[in-house]
């Protein structure tokens, strides 16, 4: 667990956090605009979040 490893892990978490945060934010905006489409928006949000998290975990394993 050297210092570059830890710094890399931190950067990865920042990246994942920003990505999923933005998705969550735009999902909230979309739900606010059209409450009847909440189901579809939630589904799409989950899929996008899982994709980003997948990369995050893979990179975290390498770091």
């Amino acid at each position: 667990m050297t210092i570059p490893n830890i710094v890399g892990a931190g950067l990865i978490v920042i990246g994942v956090g920003i990505g999923i945060g933005r998705i969550g934010g735009s999902a909230m905006d979309a739900i606010a605009r059209q409450p009847e489409a909440t189901g579809k928006i939630q589904t799409a949000m989950l899929i996008a979040a899982a994709l980003i998290e997948g990369i995050g975990f893979a990179a975290l394993f390498a770091a």
Binding site: M1, A50, F57, A58, F61
Partner: protein
């Protein structure tokens, strides 16, 4: 015809799952042990607690890795059979190994379990395992087809799924379209997979061919993840060989049931200028490999990381030994377990959705191109 293909593929995945132990390397445990070490460095270490730390490490390792005996509770464990192929079939009980300490002898050849990564190696009567210059074991390895903990759990899960769904199907026939019995819980989930995952992605015309696989993969991953959360200590999808076999199945199904339009889109993408087409072809080809690869890594990393963190926090609970530290760790572990329940279902859902997406791109045929 497709039923036969899917039957063949399910036998294929069964064989892969038998190999799963032999292919899991010890690299992950090394990293995770470092992780645990970092967590435990913060506490005071008296002489007594050093052995507690080591004991915790051993327990965590035991939970995360596959093993040749099924350890259910403190003293209740039963050894699982070991099946080796080494110019002849060797079948014996893993109790001959005495938890890795002694050398097992079968039909004249000797086998020992290496302490480093828990694999079975062929050795001589003294049980010596030679390390090569990089520190890895250099003995010969027989083909390891034994029934390990993971394999036994997969079989149990398969049996459970057969019982649940088989019972549900029979009750439909008996009761004229109304299901009875415990399988009733699963009916809305099956309908959800058909109506929200399969039909939107694959289209009404071809979705039926893929429903078998989608349903199997969803319930298999979900149930196996749920079993991983029990105190039995089975971490099945946290084993990269298992997720590799699942991803390979998705890849094989997309490749072998793909229509002409799919290959046209990969190698000669319509609607772009010719230089772009030539550049796009290798990238798209690489994409067909990377998409199942990402499926494998996503499921594996999510499950393994979740288990490691959960086990570490539980281990932390034993290390603190103060009035405030242990209950806090317990609360954190409890909360994380609830999250893990969500992650178990979510990972199964994501795997299914992405597989359906890939099948959709394989099975679609445009009229407008």
């Amino acid at each position: 015809m497709y039923r036969k293909l899917l039957n063949f593929l399910s036998i294929f995945i069964f064989i892969f799952s038998l190999n799963s132990f032999a292919q899991d390397h010890g690299h992950d445990t090394h990293k995770k042990e470092e992780n645990n070490h970092k967590v435990e460095q913060h506490t005071n270490s008296h002489n007594k607690e050093l052995t507690l730390k080591e004991q915790i490490k051993e327990d965590i390792r035991h939970h995360l890795l596959d093993s040749h005996d099924f350890h259910i509770w403190q003293n209740i464990s039963f050894p699982l059979p070991i099946i080796l192929w080494d110019n002849g079939l060797h079948i014996f009980s893993s109790s001959k190994f005495h938890h890795g300490e002694s050398v097992a002898e079968s039909k004249g050849s000797y086998y020992a379990i290496s302490h480093g990564n828990g694999h079975i190696y062929k050795t001589d009567a003294s049980g010596a395992i030679h390390l090569n210059e990089k520190g890895f074991e250099a003995n010969e390895k027989p083909l390891d087809l034994s029934i390990t903990k993971s394999v036994a759990m997969i079989m149990i899960t398969g049996l459970l799924l057969l019982l649940l769904f088989g019972g549900l199907a029979k009750s439909y026939a008996k009761n004229g379209g109304i299901g009875k019995g415990p399988g009733r819980l699963l009916e809305p989930i099956v309908l959800y997979i058909r109506d929200e995952i399969a039909i939107p992605n694959i289209g009404k015309k071809y979705y039926k061919k893929y429903m078998n696989y989608l349903l199997t993969v969803f319930f298999f991953i979900w149930f196996v993840n749920l079993f991983g959360l029990t105190p039995l200590g089975v971490n099945i999808t946290g084993n990269i060989a298992i997720t590799f076999s699942l991803a390979i199945l998705t890849y094989l199904i997309t490749t072998f049931t793909a229509k002409k339009d799919y290959w046209k889109h990969i190698f000669w993408m319509p609607g772009v200028p010719v230089p772009m087409k030539i550049i796009l072809a290798p990238i798209e080809l690489l994409g067909t490999f990377i998409k199942p690869f990402a499926l494998m890594i996503r499921l594996y990393a999510n499950m393994k990381a979740g288990h490691v963190v959960l086990m570490s926090i539980i281990g932390l609970m034993f290390l603190f030994k103060s009035w405030i530290g242990s209950p806090l760790s317990f609360g954190l572990a409890f909360g994380l377990s609830i999250l893990e329940l969500l992650v178990a279902a979510l990972q199964a859902y994501i795997f299914t959705v992405l597989s359906a997406l890939y099948f959709g791109s394989a099975a679609e045929e445009h009229a407008d191109h």
